[in-house]
Symmetry: C2
Subunit: 332 residues, 2 copies
């Protein structure tokens, strides 16, 4: 019995490892127009998955990292997590009468985002701490779950989870079929993404890396809880993206996907290994179907990254020309 099992398993694994070829037969990236961008992805996958090839990479080392905001889902007119915080401010306002006269809350409550954000990073941090801390990790998870299923994007009125990029969902799935482990490495909150990342992207909680606030172990009525403290622990952006990758994964990725200068160091780190490395920028140039922006931009600025991508021959995806569609087709 055992012998039969192992023989079948070995046979299935042999087939499984030739899956990339099968994937090639059926077009693993149907929402991508034929062209250099699409070709660069499938060429890279073929190179690292073909046994005997000089660039073959064993499955355990096939790590791919994806930025989230602007790379896997839309980030305009502002990050989704910010709108979550705004909704929390509205919900908590009755318990905070002082917010009526205190910035940035006063402007937020009046619906004046621009004035609220005039305080820059400090204002954002104040809003985040007031809305993301002071509760257990379990309570926060529930808040996020409730919000993500009900909230609507201010412009499109679609659920945020339907503003993910269909072509990128296909890249995620294609890489996983090809033996890759896919990680999210985002400036967004790690505990803001985990509650829905598996259902939406197929990325389990342990493969989500993000910014975090401190948490503290406490016993409450004899039950252990992790309380969320109003103190930043890690800001997963720029040079700290490789830091987060090293801390959580402990291996250098071989493929990295981003859309902004905040992802540049992650792409540099990924392509600086001794073996093959792939770097891709999503360029937002589709004002008709999404947004067109690179620099200067308050959100997702892409300036230095474009220069380096050109110099190093990284893939730069034109959303307008390379993608047949932006968002998944949904029955509504």
């Amino acid at each position: 019995m055992k012998r039969v099992f192992f023989a079948l398993l070995a046979f299935s694994l042999t087939l499984a490892f030739s899956a990339p070829a099968l994937a090639g037969e059926r077009d693993a990236l149907p929402s991508w127009n034929a062209g250099a961008s699409k070709q660069s992805i499938s060429d890279f996958v073929a190179r690292v998955t073909t046994e005997g090839s000089a660039d073959f990479v064993p499955p355990a080392e096939r790590i791919a990292v994806f930025d989230n905001d602007g790379t896997l889902w839309a980030e305009q007119p502002f990050y989704a997590q910010f709108f979550f915080a705004v909704d929390r401010v509205q919900a908590l306002a009755p318990q905070h009468p002082e917010w009526k006269t205190r910035e940035p809350f006063a402007s937020l409550l009046k619906g004046d985002m621009k004035a609220a954000l005039a305080g820059g990073e400090h204002a954002i941090l104040e809003i985040v701490m007031a809305t993301h801390a002071g509760m257990s990790t379990e309570a926060f998870e529930q808040l996020v779950k409730d919000w993500i299923t009900t909230a609507r994007h201010p412009v499109t009125k679609r659920p945020y989870t339907e503003m993910v990029y269909q072509p990128m969902l296909e890249v995620l799935a294609y890489l996983r079929e090809s033996g890759f482990k896919t990680y999210i490495v985002s400036g967004g909150g790690i505990e803001f993404m985990r509650p829905w990342a598996e259902a939406v992207y197929g990325v389990p909680p342990e493969q989500v890396i993000g910014s975090s606030i401190k948490t503290k172990f406490e016993m409450v009525d004899g039950k252990p809880v992790l309380m969320r403290l109003p103190e930043l622990s890690f800001l997963d952006d720029k040079g700290d993206k490789p830091v987060g990758i090293n801390l959580h994964i402990g291996r250098r990725p071989i493929a990295a996907f981003g859309n902004s200068d905040g992802d540049l160091q992650m792409l540099q780190w990924t392509t600086a290994g001794s073996g093959p490395g792939f770097a891709l920028y999503v360029h937002h140039d589709d004002a008709g179907r999404e947004w067109a922006y690179d620099h200067p931009s308050a959100v997702g600025q892409l300036d230095k990254g474009l220069v380096e991508a050109a110099a190093k021959g990284w893939t730069v995806v034109s959303m307008k020309n390379d993608w047949k569609l932006i968002y998944p087709v949904t029955k509504q």
Copy 2:
């Protein structure tokens, strides 16, 4: 072709998921004496892997966490990582003439560990920072790899990697065969364990959680590096073990293995979920084959943990009575 593949894969998976039963046939824990401790492990595995059982846990949620020092390998007369640091102090001494008269280095260089450690935590931190920082992550990894293959334990003169506990290696393998993902959650340095944890324990880098110092992304001669800074980032002990688990895994484990009061919060956290939870303490009571200690002890103190284990019915392993052997049998 594809249809055949999926049929075979489905059949193999069906067999794979009945692997625990097969494991039961052949005794997955041969170095364990029959008794309550061994039984508690196999009973728990059967409960969570039997489909239809009220306690069935889907494979993705079968997370098991293991302390390292004193749980997977020996920690007496002092932590292995400390001896690594001592060896680094010896190697670096020629570049640091000031150490001859500066504590704790002066005592260390004279071989007087007790005097060196008289400075307590502060002294240990000084030694760690002087020996673990000021280089790239890649350079540190190489130092650890070189050391772990050549260093010998001061008492047994065995390589440290041969002072791992054979019965615990069997638990790790048994859980993995049963669909578990096994993690190390240690007060030891995350980058001290990763270079050898996969070869020794079968635990890949991304499943190692530990203490860390800060790292900083830098460009050196056009090549990105992560430099190790002499600043503590995270001390993965006591209440911060659940914090580290939450940060890295984002799911509550269902099984936890420790040996000291430093693991108590991890065991509490693991068993406080809504589903089944298993907690096990390794009790060092074998002065003949290993060491006998619980409390008071400078290393691996186990006091409160014993009280709570008794109250909650956790498994407490007697190394003397439950284990047929301590270390793996090696050809030497």
